[in-house]
Subunit: 174 residues, 2 copies
């Protein structure tokens, strides 16, 4: 089976990095609990332009933490299935170099040919897409698995994965 | 219909830029006729590593010429169909920024969401793929149109486009 896997908030902890960066730059002490189902800039839209520029910097992605369990489960999926990392890099076109380096560092068992940087996941031809965005899942032609993230916890979706362990169980990995 | 369009040798004149760069750096006077169905480094494999590094530089793509007719016909296709530019950027991961800027300059009527940077076109979900590589067309699940380029002129393919005018005719554009 061909399984496409999103990057931000699925294998890379975007929200944690975003909050830490926001707090450092604007001398705040925001937590995810305070933000709820939004992002830092949902709460502080006046910093939208600044944070957009910061997220577009290739360095923004370099020290992002890996979501718990992602490495182990993606490695196992990669042994049994055709795996692609499919990330929306077009919000932040300059981020591609940083995202690429991050993938090479944390998922060294994947090859370059397994990476896709795009802007609209309607173009993805796979059996499954694991993604935290219901918008991405809505345009995808295969089966969409919603990966839980703070911003989608209130959303109703038939197939939700709360952790990488649940992904492992779903695909019956040992 | 969804139409995926390759970049190098289909809308961007990679070979011309590659030969000009090669000649300048190595004090040669190669022409495409001398190279035949290959590339500069097919003839001079001793410069393979050097040219690989040069092609990976974001600046390599910035002043590439547009293939004749590409802008006009892609603009018309974009009015009637769902168009995506799908380019293999994984041979040269650093080239993405240059390729992106080139697309923004020469195809300003396309949005970021219409760009895909990938390494294997098996992942592309579209009705058509216009590409100069038979390897890319072979793994594509839709209908492949081979766009003529010096290196594929000896290849047999059922649907060959010798120019953008032929693409316009194929899709019955006015």
């Amino acid at each position: 089976m061909r399984i496409a896997i999103d990057m931000d908030e699925v294998i890379a902890d975007f929200c944690q990095k975003d909050i830490a960066t926001f707090n450092r730059l604007f001398k705040m002490q925001l937590t995810q609990d305070m933000i709820g189902h939004g992002y830092t800039t949902t709460l502080y839209p006046q910093y939208n332009e600044a944070m957009k520029a910061i997220r577009n910097d290739p360095d923004f992605f370099r020290d992002m933490q890996v979501i718990e369990g992602a490495q182990e489960v993606v490695a196992k999926l990669n042994q049994e299935h055709e795996v692609f990392i499919v990330t929306n890099a077009m919000h932040f076109p300059r981020s591609v170099a940083g995202k690429y380096d991050w993938l090479k560092t944390h998922f060294p068992f994947l090859t370059d040919n397994q990476f896709v940087f795009c802007g609209n996941k309607v173009i993805i031809h796979a059996d499954y897409l694991i993604d935290d965005s219901t918008g991405n899942l809505a345009v995808f032609s295969g089966t969409g698995l919603l990966f839980s993230s703070p911003h989608n916890l209130a959303v109703d979706h038939p197939l939700r994965m709360n952790s990488w362990q649940e992904v492992a169980d779903y695909f019956s990995l040992n």
